[in-house]
């Protein structure tokens, strides 16, 4: 029994050490965001400095990270909503109705899920140029309407949880098909929408390559693109301001995670076991 206690003690120590190692980079980032450039050049410290305000002024005189924040939020929210709504509508049609080409569509999905996103990147760029939507958010947002993986996930969910009889009853009551979709199917899908929604949001929020290619105007930069621009800007001369810029892009997400972590983690568990 004592041996077990000792083993447990060692393991907990090791786990706590691992957590500390995991958080050192973030801790250094936050501490250095409050220190002046000369303090950072002199050496490292575990104690915050008092240059936070000065760093903030330096940073915002070159670049408004909050604009990047707002842009990323706008894109990610639009993507998440379009992805959820149209994937649900498509999954609904695939599950409830019989129609020509149904199997062709379904097989195309499965194949397309394996195609890496970069394959069509150059084509997407050129298409956007032709359509005159280069340097706008449209090429980032519109493709969210057609997300094979989400449709696939919703389809599996509907097959196992939605009784068709509920729709028959609705039809007898004279409800239209689209009305039933809004009133019956969407509420049933809600847990699946939440699961996929979180990952869609995170995916869009972190996307760097596509906005890097599509967006040119600095005022439209999303947060990752702004991070890339930061390293080549005059801000890079002031390390304190650099750390602060990175911290502003990271800390709000960490706080959001604190509130959502339980939910996110149970989603991963569910997703992987089903997948």
């Amino acid at each position: 029994m004592n041996k077990m206690k000792l083993a447990r003690f060692i393991i907990y120590t090791f786990l706590i050490l691992l957590v500390v190692i995991c958080f050192i980079p973030f801790y250094m980032m936050i501490i250095n965001a409050t220190r002046s450039n000369s303090e950072i050049l002199r050496g490292f410290s575990l104690i915050p400095g008092d240059a936070l305000k000065a760093n903030y002024q330096t940073l915002t005189s070159y670049m408004d990270v909050w604009v990047g924040f707002r842009n990323s939020l706008m894109v990610a929210v639009s993507v998440t909503i379009l992805n959820a709504y149209f994937s649900a509508l498509t999954a609904f049609a695939l599950v409830v109705y019989d129609f020509k080409w149904k199997n062709v569509i379904f097989i195309t999905f499965i194949v397309m899920m394996m195609v890496p996103g970069q394959l069509g990147l150059i084509g997407l760029y050129d298409l956007s140029e032709t359509l005159g939507i280069l340097d706008t958010y449209w090429p980032l947002i519109i493709p969210a309407i057609a997300a094979p993986f989400t449709v696939f996930f919703f389809r599996q969910f509907l097959i196992t949880t939605m009784p068709i009889s509920i729709l028959e009853a609705g039809r007898i009551d004279g409800a239209s098909e689209i009305h039933m979709f809004h009133r019956i199917v969407l509420p049933i899908l809600l847990p699946a929408i939440a699961t996929m929604g979180i990952f869609t949001f995170i995916g869009s929020w972190n996307n760097y390559l596509v906005p890097l290619v599509i967006i040119r105007s600095p005022r439209l930069y999303t947060l990752p693109v702004m991070m890339g621009a930061l390293s080549g800007s005059p801000v890079a001369m002031n390390l304190g301001a650099m750390y602060l810029g990175i911290a502003i892009s990271v800390v709000p997400i960490m706080i959001a995670f604190l509130f959502l972590s339980k939910y996110i983690i149970s989603s991963i568990t569910a997703g992987s076991i089903k997948g």
Partner: protein, 296 residues
């Protein structure tokens, strides 16, 4: 089921239209470009059709081979470290005798780096690993581990290891959660029966845990390969975006991006995209085959 209804076409129309225009069409367009010397400017109608010339060039392009091997090396190192940590943790937390507490808390803490923007992480490490004023060298110096600063991002081996380890740090939490869920799903009866038969820890790990975990391991492996072959944000932002030091961080997608959008070689960039695609397909197929052949 039936209720044959043309409204179904209406419901799938947005998906199909957007899918064809923004998904399928760009893929075909990219393939067409890969057969031309299109620069990306001046319109495709002024580009020359050159057949498979780009593909021949790809096969003899030593930068593409370099990018391929860099990508594989970074992914391989990353995967080994990530899986060792994740599997180790999953085994610890699922051990019926240890009965560790705080699974929820540790899962959340270990998962956290996953949701942080990779671009921010890359930028953070580009200054933490800086030779002169980086946090890591300063810390190691003041702790006395080293007596002169190490130029991490100037050495190919260190730089590749840095990308692999930063990746492992970001993603081990995700693998841990998935593996733990998988192990928790294995029936306790197996382990109890093994215990009665006098099996030791290693035997029950080898003959129960690993075989039962196979579908989950396959899932983790495939997603890791597909993601790993596409690594871009970290190598792009950790150094100068051209693959420094000495081309060690030149990965396949970085090479694609630079060729197409920095050097205006749309045609050749498109060829790299297809090269990457075929490599992904081949790797996924090999993984499937080996995982399932062993089972039979």
């Amino acid at each position: 089921m039936k209720k044959g209804n043309h409204q179904a076409y209406l419901f799938i129309a947005p998906f199909v239209i957007v899918f064809l225009i923004f998904n399928i069409y760009p893929i075909f367009l990219t393939f067409y470009y890969s057969l031309t010397d299109y620069t990306g400017m001046g319109g495709i109608e002024n580009a020359r059709f050159i057949g498979v010339d780009n593909y021949i060039r790809l096969f003899s392009d030593r930068y593409f081979y370099q990018a391929f091997f860099n990508t594989i090396r970074i992914w391989g190192f990353n995967f080994i470290v990530q899986m060792l940590i994740a599997l180790g943790l999953a085994l610890l937390f699922s051990d019926i005798r240890l009965k560790l507490k705080g699974v929820g808390l540790f899962r959340a803490l270990f998962y956290l780096p996953n949701i942080i923007t990779i671009a921010s992480v890359a930028l953070l490490f580009s200054i933490l690993l800086d030779w002169n004023h980086g946090g890591l060298n300063q810390m190691l110096l003041s702790l006395g581990f080293i007596d002169r600063p190490i130029n991490w991002l100037n050495s190919p081996a260190y730089a590749q290891s840095a990308v692999a380890l930063i990746g492992a740090w970001m993603w081990f939490g995700n693998s841990f959660i998935v593996l733990l869920a998988g192990i928790s799903g294995i029936s306790k009866d197996f382990y109890e029966a093994a215990l009665i038969d006098g099996a030791n820890w290693w035997q029950s790990f080898k003959f129960i845990t690993i075989p039962q975990l196979k579908p989950i391991l396959l899932y983790v492996l495939i997603t890791s390969i597909i993601g790993g072959l596409q690594i871009f944000d970290l190598p792009m932002l950790l150094t100068d975006g051209n693959g420094s030091p000495q081309g060690a961080l030149n990965t396949m997608v970085l090479y694609l991006y630079n060729q197409a959008f920095k050097y205006n070689n749309f045609g050749y960039g498109a060829t790299i995209a297809y090269g990457l695609f075929f490599i992904t397909v081949i790797f996924s197929a090999i993984t499937f085959r080996t995982m399932y052949r062993k089972q039979v």
